[in-house]
Point group: C2
Chain length 137, copies 2
DNA sequence: TTGGGTGCAAACTATTTGCATTCGA
DNA sequence: TCGAATGCAAATAGTTTGCACCCAA
């Protein structure tokens, strides 16, 4: 993904992911894909409407749920209070600052897993998530 | 930790972690440390009281929050719906079955991180959490 | 004795849902 | 046109909080 995405890029992207590009979805995606960022639904609602758009709370929640389901964004569950949506859908890991609540991408982090046990028949690994927790000394 | 812990073991453990051993805390810890397990607060409330005890909802939430803060148990944030408390406080990682919601320990998993970027001055890594997501084929 | 701990119910907050209205194809 | 999408408000669920009472040290 090369940020930011213009309106055409957004529409194209939505099509690629089999998402009907409505006005609201285009505006939400346009806002999310300005840059790689991690935002809770609330901030997305705020941000989209601050750009002069008019999208309801329910639509933001529904839309982000849809985007996550379709793989356009990733949900990051770190903080018990709320879900963060990550506009970077390339495989990568995160550093979480437990003091500030800040979430940071670790795009170059290379993870090697040794001694991974076998899973039951019919099970397959669908993802590996690594979260490095950091704090002030 | 060698499960299960008897009452004396629990009291001793609470002392070790600087937690005043009240009746309710002993009952909650006694229930949690019967075995290595991952439970949401709700199930802990249910389980403790099913053993014939009488502990309120608020006390379970407060107590598990305290236990987590003191490092006696670990919070596992996987599911947006609720926090899981892990009675195994030894360093280890998890496999999460996205279909069933089941959470499993991976005690032997060895994780090697390469290319970890430098963090700002004054920051230190306080933990590394790996979650392997598995699903039915 | 007394400060911390507990219980209850009410409050809170993120998220979901029901349903009438509107819109995209 | 017509099923899908949206908006609003009400509902939901997990969790937290205020406050009076109680207990461990």
């Amino acid at each position: 993904m090369n940020f930011p995405l213009d309106r055409d890029g957004v529409v194209q992207l939505l099509h690629q992911y089999n998402i009907t590009p409505t006005r609201q979805r285009i505006e939400i995606a346009g806002f999310m894909f300005q840059r790689a960022q991690h935002l809770p639904a609330d901030k997305i609602l705020e941000g989209v409407n601050a750009e002069g758009h008019n999208v309801s709370r329910a639509t933001v929640y529904n839309t982000m749920g849809l985007f996550a389901e379709k793989g356009l964004v990733n949900e990051v569950l770190i903080n018990r209070e709320r879900v963060f949506y990550d506009s970077n859908n390339a495989p990568h890991h995160h550093a979480y600052n437990v003091d500030t609540g800040e979430l940071r991408d670790l795009p170059s982090l290379d993870v090697q897993l040794n001694n991974l046990p076998e899973f039951e028949q019919g099970m397959q690994v669908v993802g590996t998530e690594v979260i490095i927790k950091v704090a002030s000394k």
